[in-house]
Symmetry: C2
Subunit: 198 residues, 2 copies
């Protein structure tokens, strides 16, 4: 009865806090959201938060979990829209980076927690499951699939992070180019290199 509609005392504080937290993460200075500030925007005393979360970390973990869920949804939708298969796989990779660029503070939060076990649950782990499924489908080999999953995750995550940090320009064309699995490293080596023409 803690997480239902809106009834008793003030409303559903837990849900309200998470909502406020998510929207605070969207604005500028989303990197520095404070427990007190959050309580203020929800219109509640600072210490009321502690009835729903043991401490700030727990609140952040909940936000990260929600972000993870949304990321999984985005990727799944993108993969399906692209018609699955290799196209879908590539689309889910682009969706990963796009999500990071669209929600920088949330994305950073999702990957700066102590240990993922605090908020990675069966339900919000869609992204991970999807990745496993897709690579298995593409390779047909569990061992190769796992390596492919790891490498794909790493490169998408690397691109996302470097762009968020301003180390790489956050241009859509660059995302596509770097994620292009046909052109990875030497894939198109000698002459090819001319792929960039456009």
């Amino acid at each position: 009865m803690s997480t239902s509609a809106e009834s008793y005392h003030h409303g559903d504080l837990r849900t309200a806090l998470i909502g406020a937290g998510l929207s605070a993460l969207e604005g500028p200075d989303g990197a520095t959201l404070s427990l007190r500030g959050l309580a203020r925007t929800v219109g509640v005393s600072a210490t009321a938060v502690y009835r729903h979360f043991p401490d700030k970390r727990a609140l952040l973990a909940a936000l990260a979990g929600e972000g993870l869920r949304q990321l999984g949804e985005s990727q799944a939708a993108a993969a399906q829209a692209a018609g699955g298969g290799a196209k879908g796989f590539a689309a889910s990779g682009r969706a990963y980076v796009r999500f990071a660029l669209a929600h920088p503070a949330l994305f950073r939060l999702m990957f700066s927690q102590g240990n993922p076990a605090d908020f990675e649950t069966r339900e919000n782990d869609l992204a991970r499951d999807l990745l496993s499924e897709m690579t298995l489908e593409l390779t047909g080999n569990p061992v190769a699939a796992e390596r492919m999953a790891h490498q794909a995750w790493a490169i998408a995550h690397g691109i996302a992070m470097l762009m968020l940090d301003g180390r790489l320009p956050a241009e859509p064309a660059l995302i596509d180019e770097l994620l292009d699995t046909d052109a990875l490293f030497f894939g198109s080596t000698p002459k090819a290199a001319t792929t960039t023409d456009r």
Copy 2:
């Protein structure tokens, strides 16, 4: 005369602060270093810091710059020890990830600043220059070199970050496997999943 030996009032505070900051970043809870705490360990009043850095961000930027310099050194050393060429390139990639795992808080700090321009200087940008040189040497083509550099950076960075966050196990064998340029994605799989496009 602000950054020289050690002479006048207290010593070279700026250098001392950076040293203390770097060593604080090595310990646990290095993620939460405080200006006051740093001043305390150096044996100086909290506000003395402001004679050398306009604010905390500037101090952190200085630490990040120093970290960047060290990272470049590590990579250059590893590349040279491996004899340059493709071997050297692979070695520098491993060194990148190893550095991240060896100095988690420092590495995170290096890649969570607002904009890199604040601390990326000609002298500490060794890592970036090295990467450009190596990929150009390997491809012989400026365009291909740049893409290779971006992709290599992204995958190394992704591996490092995911391991730091506990999303991937931080095992040396896995680092090697994921960085293996010959086995990237479909490199070693038969049918290569035929990504089709293009």
